[in-house]
């Protein structure tokens, strides 16, 4: 039987799907694996055991929990843990700083969008947008407080919802408490406390009588309706806009009673038309003959209502971009984007569309698109359920109300998973569950392009629920995008600068302690694992690992393994209510935690020049770096030497191994390199060499 060897010193393509295992390209044949479990792909190409986690605090409120990191100031950060109706604020050492009542329920938690501003944090979801502020050591969570403006108006976004188009409103008076009558069903009980604008003037709804009648308090006097006597009303039409040529007054014709009079509702001004001036309309002109007089307020279709309310729903997306708070994902205006005034995140007054004014725009080329995500990158990026867009801007052509442009990048619709900004671009999960990245092209015309990241490893994306980006975890040079799946597995996407392909490995949590949420801040990565707020740690061999140099009360009641010098020694053992394991004395260098299994299965060798061959792996060599015990095809490699103290923890070893003889004749079997539960230890595989008998 002939033999040949295959040397593999890089796993940079990571675990590839079974469909790719007969491909012979370099990156698939020599740089991939059939399985990579609970390991990371190092920049050097080798494989390292994944980081364990260190518990910081226990949080048992509800079932669903989610963590986000709040970048406070400088290097000061807080862990914000969202649970049912509650927001817990932790320092990174696990100290609970505050617990606030929150408007969200468990059903909302996964979909909440957060925006980190300067000492403030915004939350968007199925509730009125919230603003978390930190002032002089005091935390406050409250509804976004839109700016008050002239005449007690509120500078909040207003919108005319498509469902109400064609409905007219008639006020009973111009000031005070009035009755509003709509021409069709409009009002709901939830409108009480909201504001409508009748031709730009605000009315606070104080009571709803029925679907077509409501009571409101006029905030700013409504523009009057006037009776204008003219030389001739011939040629004018109801609904036309007429303008006085000298007064500049403007209004909409609401009715034409006879040949010499027009009933006009003034728009955006209180000044009447002047006697003898010319009244110009789109298709006729006439002369005002006599001073106009006040008439009964007329019905008008020029009205809108506040964009955010319990009746119209709440925005699900938000971002801070160029000193504006930009919000979108309005349930009844799904393609609309509302941006605050520059430098005033709570001011959505559109003003005169001057450069610093707020703006409210909508996607023009897809009325039915739902904006799911907003990302502040070099430019503003919008992801909808059916395409992705960018808003072109530069230092010479900044984002202003008159310069807004939605340029389509491509027809890739985004899922509801919150995207991620990385140095290479915007990483997101599309509707098909693939991991895509929108990267800058450097071209002026097509500034952004979409590429797929998960081509070879899509089988591991078993229901993405969140994305996290961490750079330099544990002072290492790797960068990872962590995709947390619904089944509590995590996909670690090694993301090397300049590389065309990412490398992917699958992480599974220690049994019984699912990851509910993962979040990162710069080089640190945190999680909610089971009931614990924890931090990932490259020096931790196990999950939820604590020093056992003293009582570990945080793990009281848990079943744990004991490690010495990072090498799992014995277990599982119960931690009693005092944080102690009765049979194991606390000692220096000891830790306790939840161990997990690691596994590496190389890709099967493919000889492109021969095609099918009956072959098997007969021997295997490994080259390790500072590693403890591990198994090759089930055979335990103990790093103790003959003359070592066998009672002491096994030392970490580097270098090449003796050959492992792989038994069996199954041509499809590939040897596995593993660390079983209860045998966890530092592990770094630099290379492996397989002898192939054929």
């Amino acid at each position: 039987m002939a033999r040949r060897r295959r040397f593999q010193n890089a796993f940079t393509t990571g675990e590839v799907g079974p469909e790719f295992l007969q491909r012979a390209e370099e990156e698939l044949q020599n740089e991939s694996a059939q399985a990579l479990r609970n390991v990371i792909i190092a920049n050097a190409g080798g494989i390292r055991r994944r980081p364990g986690s260190v518990p910081k605090a226990k949080n048992t409120n509800g079932v669903k929990r989610r963590i986000e990191m709040f970048d406070l100031v400088g290097d000061e950060i807080r862990g914000l843990v969202m649970t049912d109706g509650q927001l817990d604020i932790y320092e990174t050492d696990g100290t609970l700083e505050d617990t606030l009542v929150a408007p969200w329920g468990e059903a909302d938690i996964d979909d909440i969008v957060h925006v980190n501003g300067d000492n403030r944090f915004y939350f968007f979801g199925d509730f009125f947008p919230q603003q978390l502020t930190y002032t002089n050591g005091v935390w406050t969570l409250a509804d976004i407080d839109f700016e008050s403006s002239i005449g007690s108006t509120i500078s909040q976004p207003y919108w005319r919802f498509s469902a109400t188009k064609g409905i007219s409103l008639t006020p009973s008076a111009l000031t005070g408490s009035i009755t509003l009558t709509s021409s069709d069903d409009l009002f709901e009980a939830g409108h009480v406390g909201t504001r409508f604008r009748y031709i730009g003037n605000e009315i606070l709804i104080t009571a709803v009588t029925n679907a077509t009648t409501a009571t409101g308090t006029v905030i700013t006097a409504l523009y009057p309706t006037i009776d204008v006597t003219v030389a001739s009303s011939a040629g004018f039409q109801v609904g036309e806009v007429v303008t006085g040529d000298t007064s500049g007054a403007e209004g909409v014709i609401s009715s034409i009673p006879d040949g010499t009079s027009l009933i006009v509702t003034l728009s955006f001004g209180y000044t009447y038309f002047a006697d003898t001036e010319t009244l110009d309309g789109p298709s006729a002109s006439t002369t005002v003959s006599g001073a106009p007089s006040a008439a009964t307020a007329a019905a008008s279709v020029i009205w809108d209502e506040q964009m955010i309310s319990s009746v119209r729903g709440y925005p699900r997306a938000g971002v801070l971009h160029r000193n504006r708070l930009i919000i979108a994902g309005f349930p009844q205006a799904p393609n609309a984007v509302a941006a605050s005034a520059t430098g005033f995140e709570n001011d959505f007054d559109l003003g005169q569309a001057e450069d610093a004014d707020a703006f409210i725009e909508a996607l023009g080329d897809d009325q039915n698109a739902t904006i799911r995500h907003l990302i502040s990158s070099e430019q503003l990026v919008l992801l909808t359920d059916r395409a992705c867009y960018y808003v072109p801007e530069s230092e010479n052509s900044p984002l202003t109300p008159t310069r807004v442009s939605f340029n389509r990048i491509g027809p890739d619709g985004a899922s509801t998973v919150r995207p991620l900004l990385t140095p290479e671009g915007v990483v997101f999960v599309d509707n098909a569950g693939r991991l895509l990245v929108i990267g800058a092209t450097g071209s002026v015309r097509a500034s952004w392009a979409v590429q797929e990241l998960s081509l070879f490893s899509n089988h591991l994306l078993t229901g993405p629920k969140s994305l996290t980006y961490v750079d330099g975890l544990g002072n290492r040079s790797e960068r990872y995008v962590i995709v947390l799946n619904e089944d509590a597995t995590a996909v670690a996407v090694a993301y090397r600068r300049g590389a065309e392909q990412v490398g992917v490995s699958l992480w599974t949590p220690a049994e019984g302690f699912d990851w509910l949420s993962i979040a990162a801040w710069k080089t640190r990565m945190f999680c909610i694992q089971g009931d614990y707020f924890a931090e990932f740690d490259m020096d931790a061999t196990m999950d939820l690992e604590l020093p056992y140099t003293a009582a570990a009360t945080l793990l009281a009641g848990e079943s744990v393994y004991v490690a010495r010098s990072g090498i799992v020694w014995q277990g599982p053992l119960a931690v009693n209510g005092s944080g102690l394991i009765p049979t194991v004395a606390v000692a220096a260098g000891q830790t306790i935690g939840k161990d997990f299994r690691t596994s590496i299965i190389p890709s099967p060798p493919v000889a492109k020049q021969f095609g099918y061959e009956r072959r098997r792996i007969s021997r295997l060599w490994t080259d390790m770096l500072e590693s403890g015990p591990y198994r090759v095809d089930g055979e335990l490699v103990n790093t103790h030497d003959e003359d070592d103290d066998l009672e002491a923890p096994p030392p970490l070893r580097s270098g090449a191994s003796e050959p492992f003889f792989i038994l069996g004749y199954d041509p499809n079997s590939m040897p596995e390199i593993s660390q079983e539960v209860g045998e966890g230890a530092p592990f770094f595989l630099r290379s492996l060499t397989m002898e192939i008998a054929y």
Binding site: P157, Y158, W159, R160, T243, D245, T246, G248, E250, F268, D280, D304, N335, A336, L350, G351, Q352, A353, F359, I360, E361, A362, L363, G364, D365, Q367, Y389, P401, T402, V404, S405, F406, N407, R408
Partner: protein
């Protein structure tokens, strides 16, 4: 000598009378010209107004075309504000133009009215001068 000058003075009085009438006719012609100019300005005002409306429609159409090209909705709140602001700008410019033209009309009408008044005074002035000269001639003839 004095008796010899009297016929000349009578002739001069006649000339003064004729001069006054001529000046009055000239002023009348100028007044009519001013009235024509006023009418012309009024017409110009209407034309400028119509042109301004056409310009505004073109600008609004261009704004819509640009917005369509930029992939933004044509009836968003900001689109309405931009449209309103553009109308306001156009109205401001149009009103200034109309005001200037209206001032021109008033000015021309005032000129016409002054010239008409001047016409009366020209006849009266010629008549007065002639009368004075005839009186002088009569005193010389005694």
């Amino acid at each position: 000598m004095a008796a010899a000058a009297a016929p000349l003075m009578v002739a001069s009085a006649g000339m003064s009378l004729l001069g006054g009438v001529g000046e009055a006719r000239s002023m009348d012609a100028q007044a009519k010209a001013a009235e024509y100019r006023a009418k012309g300005l009024k017409l110009q005002g209407k034309q400028v107004g119509a042109e301004r409306a056409r310009d505004l429609n073109m600008i609004l159409g261009t704004i819509d075309a640009i917005r369509s090209g930029r992939g933004v909705s044509l009836d968003s709140p900001t689109a309405m504000v931009i449209e309103r602001a553009q109308k306001k700008r156009s109205d401001t410019i149009g009103n200034a133009e109309q005001l200037e033209i209206a001032q021109g009309v008033v000015s021309e009408k005032y000129s016409a009215s002054q010239l008409r008044k001047g016409k009366k005074f020209a006849i009266l002035g010629g008549f007065a001068q002639a009368t004075s000269q005839l009186a002088g001639a009569a005193s010389l003839g005694k």
